[in-house]
Symmetry: D3
Subunit: 284 residues, 6 copies
């Protein structure tokens, strides 16, 4: 992941600062060991690259060598008690890096595991489950990767790689049609334009623009069905539903003919998965 | 918060990058507006300073002035539909900063709200509810602040401001007694030494050291009670319970005479609270 | 411009470092002055925001206040001898910032001026003149802004906000069809997919994919005309020509029915425009 | 080059950001390849170290190993169609790094090639061709290196490593003599003092100071000749001409007895040289 | 040392900047050599890790390999003329890194050597000699490490890892008792609370609080003795003396029964120790 | 000072980190106060700008406003008990910034005070007292400024703004004459070339080169006198003595006719001057 190292370095600054009072005092720099990363619940694995980068950065700072080896690849499901990876080498660096590495593995596996529920609800319907920009500040690339590991798809990454005309933009411009025209006129030709609608009337207006994607926001199932029918009759366009998208809701709307359902909850309603690092061998 | 600005700057780099394709095209730099931050569920408020810093940094980058005003202070409980703050000024900067500001407010209010459940369970028993180092990499100071807003207390911030002798350190040294002695010998005289025990036998050993705090890890209620009794009979020491600490568990152990119960779940089992920003006025 | 300040700060580190030996010795910190930024050739103006940011950053470092005022807006054409902006305030900061501010104004106005030649050649034909990723490392956002000031349009900003399947990707995958399918499958639904073709045969293959845009690379005028005819007959698709695109070439192909012609030369064949800063008043 | 890595890292942030949508989707992480860097015009080679650093940094971020090998050394002249270097290893990293590496090679070879024209015009006259501080913000060290590769010499690097008393300083102080005295008094004894003059009268004043170097600015050939004669008759001093210095002008003044002619145009009138990277072998 | 690399990188930016004019011109990149780091006075060695990091960072920037080998470990005493380390490899990198490496070794060995005088004065009395926060901005971790090498102990690292209620805090709150109570209430349970007193009356007040450590500030020997007696009679508490603590003063108070004497002078009254780097072999 | 803010920010990171445990708990954010910076010994004042920058940065992080006012200007001598500056405003920010501000004032005033002794020894002899590159890593610009406040002059700032051919360079090249020629050939024409000699024989060789400055290193008074005589008889050249330069030595050699005597001890033999900040008023 291109920008992973800067994040990891900041995380280790945060946790290690000028030194680990306990480990520096108790664990000799020459001691070595081997540990296992253990799933303590059923989960979808995610975060091996980040965990490995943590131990690499810790070694760069406090010395020693640590080898992190994934045993179960990212995006695989495992049941509780599975060893998903091993770590061996400098005992001091293993113990210093343990918490940050686990924090990342637990958070990301939690998102992957939670996303899988939405994806399973969509099944083979062809409905794509996508995330949003509701992500933890600083961790977006990692969290969006976790969504992919859970079987979800990503929406645009940020404000700079896709056009999304929302109600605030329409209010500011005064007209949906004009807002879409301005956005299309300014954006380069490799980004698509999406526009948010909340009623069938707005949908009609959106269909008359050059918008490539229409976001059907906060519609109930009945209105969603009507919107899909209307849009499909009108022209070729991608249709995305949003608002209160849960696994249960996905099961309800999966066969309406939508292209995507987007849910911030893939990420912000996910709690961490339970993982631990157990030392299995120590050579002091 | 001392290091808030660097985090906010990174978050805006992440979301805004070289520019907001939609807003730059649709909202004029001279337009102004006023919006409200609305609680969409019952929650404990947290994050106003971070939200204000987001709009300040956005203005520093894209121009204009935005005034963010808290209406309900951090750490206050509100019911759904309460307006907790307002934002007014440059419409472009409001719309560009909205997502990052809300991401912080929602995440932090979620932690404060979740923590409040644990704290309410402890009631007036005197049992302190404390967090752990299981925090989102890069956001620890903010998350620990949210715990305080929820009524919880913080444990040590990081590896550098407290000594915690855990099983891995004991294994590395070969003896709990020796590990505590080494840690005490190396640490400066304004930090206390905590040691983790899992059995009453280990507790006996810990009580014979100079440890200031003993962590009773993963004991059931019966063993916890026995441990408290044994320790209180032996000497003055702070006692902390950890392992599977939930609001329900806290209710069960609150009167055992423990000083602290620590729970990573204050943070990692908290989902985001639901908040939105509604534009109430636009002058274009 | 969102990320302008970091660039300006690096530029001033580079030129000012620990101090300006000459100015610190000769110009008193309390002296003030007023200067004019003068066009020394016909040019299209570009770079006022960058110039203002230079003087702001210099003042942040060495003290004083400087007010930079544009007189002719970015994207306007002016003839030689026109004063395009004024700068007044701390004489020391004006003299220290002069070179970096002019370097940016000269470089950016040079690109805007050069781009205008391509755009004028396209006239009202509807052919969009677009840039490429051949930009000076570190200055892409500014250079792409200069292209817009010259009347050109931007292509994708970078590798992360658009899909462009080029010959190397096709070689790596083994098939154009498969490469487009993989890229479309992986990209989020707000980016379009462009694919590069060099022959009419490849064009046929590209037209059978879901590619949104086809890049007709290095074709002569005759082949370009044939390609446009073939594509327009086949399906709705955006067509872009590239390879040796000069103002003269644009004049030759402007009416072929292409959507875009992309030219790295907008930026990399532009020399700096000639501008200078003349002090008109000094109060010492 | 001491500070090259920070520049390269910023350049890759700019182009790669959170990831290459196309390459990540189409090129497997284990694929390898070999490519050639090809001169598409006659040029003076410059930029191998920068190009190698690009591929190294890309690998640090996305994994894999790439070996960049120069075939023709920096500062050598080659004719069109010469292979000046090769790159082999991880195909993904080669394709991701290609654009930034070429952008640097093309820009720097362009400067070296352009500078060579001025240097050739000076021939064996002993007149040194030197650059100025008119450089692209952020790239000064590289551009000044390119000037050396073209056979030119560098002037001072920045405001901090040489004293140059210009008209603005003289205006601020009120007298050339006093300005030189102040600057000499403040500067450390390993930097020389240069002063700018525009008339023979100013030259007389400058010759009466302790200035080590006199810049004869914007004089025509006749006045230049007179200035050289006057100065040589007066005392030992270095003489530099500036203002409208082109290869043609250098040919005209090369034998006047000047020490240096300085030209911003070495850098800001140079367009990029044409180079491309061709994959010659792919193992997928 | 966890954060050493950032400091070293800044130090090399400061000294090397865009390049070493002399070394680049005179020493070939392929030349190698071997040098010795020589103590030119009796001293306590300190700084090998920092010195090694300097040469590593120089090589990362200008190429080549350098091997730095300590011969006498940090914290050892040596007499003048002892070789304490060797450096071998790229001659260019050795010469470029020499000054920064020596600056660190000389400064840190100076502190270790100076601290040793205080520690020797305390002898086997059990009185701990501790430092303060009076450290060179940016070098605290290194300077506190040097204190440890000299046999001293560290006080809290900074404002964030210990509570120290000083006169200004007491003045701000209005009462020592209340100030201690507030600080104890806010601090996490792994930090201790220290409070400063200047009279026996204040000591009485402090003894009645929960303060873990009492700082006896600026008391003369007689008052110190009285204070120790009073405190020992009252309760278990750590006692620290501060104010004009010199080696001579330590000899005078070492047997009073204090736990610690803190002295900013360990660091700020230490001058650099004399060390030099002598090239013993050059292969050009 | 151009690069002061980055240093101050790092210093506050180091001391304040995520927060001041004591001050946050005891001093209300709305309390205000006024304090005085008091000289506790005779000293030469230095560091007001740095101190002011500390309080500004603290306020940027923790809020509030602080006004720092110098009463006695940098470079002035004061006797003990003089108030050299005042600070007023947010009490919390004053107390948090106090230590870092004083650390800078004490260190810099210490250097200025120590330097004054050397300068006084030189008196009106015309011998310039100059510093060296033996400076604290990261603080060079500040320390060299302190030398100027003490009446000393600066030598080159770093490796990049002056040529100094030392014994290692000569050894590497094999000949003093050749080393000087190479360095002169490579350096730009605004830097001078200095060469180090240790014997009269080497001086002869140096005088035959184009070196602008000759460093007479480690010569005793007799040899220094002979060297000056020989050099003055030969040609115009700047002469600098180095090696064991103390105030006493300066008194001994001040009238030999040297231009400069350089002493690392101006900085590395200076201990901190004694200053304190006393709160004179508190409004809580």
């Amino acid at each position: 992941m291109s920008q992973l190292r800067a994040l990891i370095s900041a995380a280790i600054d945060e946790d290690l600062g000028h030194g680990d009072l306990t480990t520096d005092a108790t664990i000799d720099g020459s001691a070595t060991g081997r540990g296992e990363v253990l799933a303590k619940q059923d989960l979808v694995v995610c975060g091996h690259e980040a965990a490995a980068a943590v131990f690499e950065e810790v070694c760069r700072r406090v010395g020693g060598q640590v080898d992190y080896q994934p045993l179960i690849a990212d995006a695989e499901s495992v049941s509780a008690s599975t060893v998903i990876g091993t770590v061996s080498g400098s005992l001091r660096s293993i113990v210093i890096g343990e918490r940050v590495a686990l924090n990342l593995l637990m958070k990301l596996s939690g998102i992957a595991t939670h996303t899988r529920r939405y994806v399973d609800a969509a099944g083979d319907s062809g409905l794509g489950v996508v995330d949003t920009r509701k992500t933890t500040p600083g961790l977006r690339a990692l969290e969006k990767y976790a969504v992919r590991c859970g079987g979800g798809r990503n929406h645009r990454h940020a404000l700079f790689d896709g056009v999304m005309v929302k109600d605030n933009h329409i209010t500011a411009v005064g007209s949906l049609t004009e807002a879409v025209a301005r956005a299309r006129g300014a954006a380069h030709h490799l980004v698509r334009v999406e526009v948010e609608v909340r009623t069938l009337q707005e949908l009609d207006e959106a269909l008359a623009t050059s918008a490539d994607v229409i976001l059907l926001d906060n519609m109930d199932d009945t209105m969603l069905a009507a919107a899909v029918a209307k849009a499909r009759a009108a022209r070729s366009v991608l249709l995305e539903a949003s608002g209160n998208i849960t696994p249960e809701r996905i099961a309800a709307i999966r066969d309406l003919g939508l292209d995507y359902a987007s849910a911030g909850g893939l990420i912000h309603q996910a709690v961490w998965a339970d993982l631990s690092l157990k030392l299995r061998q120590v050579d002091r």
